[in-house]
């Protein structure tokens, strides 16, 4: 399991390759978030971000067969088309890999202490949290409750 909060860019090929070394791995699902349209600065709470992402990964491991996992989140100044975040999950089969990857991403968006400040032509502005992100994270709670009954 690798969690990294860094200014530097990352290479998807290299990260996926690192997750595919175990011959028991049959699937690697990955997601990359990219800066869209507006340049931005990402602020974070150093220490807590790594800790919070670590907790989300542990939660995913309780729910699905996660053989290995890499989460990289960048901070600092980022321009449109630059990569912001990577979540990659290795499992024996695709079902677990897809689900765990989406779960980690949904929770990261609502729990990891990062804040985006967009540099808009009319002035800099902090991005407001979206209720649709909360709903995306919430649906996993409902799913788990259904699974238990």
């Amino acid at each position: 399991m690798k969690v990294s909060v860094q200014e530097a860019d990352f290479d998807l090929g290299q990260e996926v390759k690192a997750l595919s070394q175990d011959p028991k791995v049959g699937a690697v699902a990955s997601f990359i978030g990219v800066v869209r349209e507006v340049p931005m600065t990402l602020e974070h709470y150093a220490g807590m971000t790594e800790r919070e992402i670590g907790k989300i990964v542990e939660e995913a491991r309780l729910r699905w067969q996660v053989m290995d996992c890499t989460v990289i989140h960048r901070f600092g100044e980022l321009r449109p088309t630059e990569q912001i975040v990577l979540v990659a999950v290795a499992s024996a089969h695709r079902g677990d890999a897809f689900a765990a990857c989406e779960f980690i991403m949904d929770y990261l968006k609502t729990r990891a202490p990062f804040w985006k400040k967009e540099a808009r032509p009319e002035g800099a502005r902090w991005v407001e949290a979206r209720s649709s992100d909360d709903q995306a994270a919430q649906r996993w709670t409902i799913k788990r409750a259904e699974g238990k009954s």
Binding site: G33, L42, E43, H44, Y45, G47, M48, T49, R51, E52, H73, I84, V85, M105, L108, K109, T110, R111, A112, P113, F114, W115, K116, K117, W126, V127, E128, A129, R130, D133
Partner: protein, 85 residues
């Protein structure tokens, strides 16, 4: 007691303060108490810690609710809802 308080993102800018060590009165023992204490400073603090503003809290880097207790030496962070990813 003495605690360390941190402010992030829009909150840090509104207050013009990234954080500080503060000595709290004896009756401040919870996150809610600390919020009222900060609010009583007036000005930007009164606005930032009004009931209408969504402010999240972490104690020693764990998210907590307003009822959470605080103790000497704690690191208490206040910040807006997160927007990473």
């Amino acid at each position: 007691m003495k605690v360390k308080v941190l402010f992030f993102a829009a909150l840090r800018e509104q207050l013009g303060n990234p954080g500080e060590e503060i000595e709290l009165p004896a009756d401040v023992t919870s996150v809610a108490g600390l919020r009222s204490h900060l609010k009583s400073r007036g000005g930007a603090y009164e606005k930032a810690f009004s009931e209408k503003t969504l402010v999240r809290t972490a104690v020693n880097q764990d998210m907590v609710s307003a009822t959470a207790r605080i103790k000497p030496g704690d690191e208490i962070a206040f910040f807006p809802p997160v927007t990473g990813g």
